[in-house]
Symmetry: C2
Subunit: 164 residues, 2 copies
């Protein structure tokens, strides 16, 4: 029952709802694109949806190690979709495979997120030292989730400019 939730639980639920909302919007958008549209640039000389899909998979997947929850599943995509710019790599994975990776990753993230207690969300993320974290307690797992939520909406805003 909602009445029995602690304040700490409600903070986490609120942040996870925001994540799920943007994740759902992005999924709906990618699902609405044909494979041909996935290869059409958003604006002249700008990224293509296929690149941004790979980029979002790589960046969101990297949350797993950043949250100290294990290993990334799609680390092989980082170089193509984060380090390098769109079109720098011509040999991209098939679009169908990226679509599948996106769905599997989202299910995996959601399952992992549900395992963390509110207090665990406030523990440090992997790229802050214990010493720095003692001084800056906002550099916690929740900060990673909020940052990746807004990173997702940042790129969804760009994707919405595509002339469909």
């Amino acid at each position: 029952m909602a009445e029995q939730k602690t304040h700490e639980q409600i903070f986490v639920i609120t942040a996870l709802k925001a994540w799920e909302q943007w994740q759902g919007r992005a999924t709906k958008f990618f699902d609405s694109l044909s494979d041909e549209q996935m290869l059409q640039e958003i604006a002249r000389g700008k990224n293509r949806p296929i690149y941004l899909l790979g980029h979002l998979i790589a960046v969101n997947d990297a949350m797993i190690p950043q949250l100290r929850l294990g290993e990334a599943s799609y680390a092989g995509l980082w170089d193509t979709f984060v380090t390098k710019a769109d079109r720098a790599v011509t040999d991209l994975p098939p679009i169908s495979e990226l679509r599948e990776n996106w769905k599997k990753l989202n299910a995996h993230l959601d399952a992992q997120f549900k395992l963390l207690s509110p207090i665990q969300w406030l523990e440090r993320h992997s790229t802050v030292s214990d010493d720095d974290f003692a001084r800056e307690q906002h550099r916690n797992r929740l900060a990673i989730l909020l940052s990746r939520t807004s990173h997702l909406s940042y790129h969804l805003g760009q994707l919405m400019l595509l002339n469909k």
Copy 2:
């Protein structure tokens, strides 16, 4: 001292840091544009930065009544920059005035946000009824802040496509 903060305080600080970070990035971007660039469309037929600046002022300002913290200061911008599309209104406020509004609004929002206790952030926002809120406690003030943070990054992603 960081050591003395409650968990509830840290949740709020983390969310406010995320808001401040995107707000700062947007300010830096708008400050980097000349008045001429403010009138240049992001991509062919898409919004101009002047429109998105007015849009962000109107939407972020509307947080004040949504958070039940008082009246909006720039409600007069809503029709031009939210209800209507870019270029539907030709008589826009001067760019210098919008730039000034943006800075004043951000200072006002930050001051108002600091007055809320963690428990007050978990109170209902203005567009949910008491009955609905009893069942859905994530429809709180914090949800509005997280939503507007990602709305800001959504449009900043678009602005970054401008050919400067």
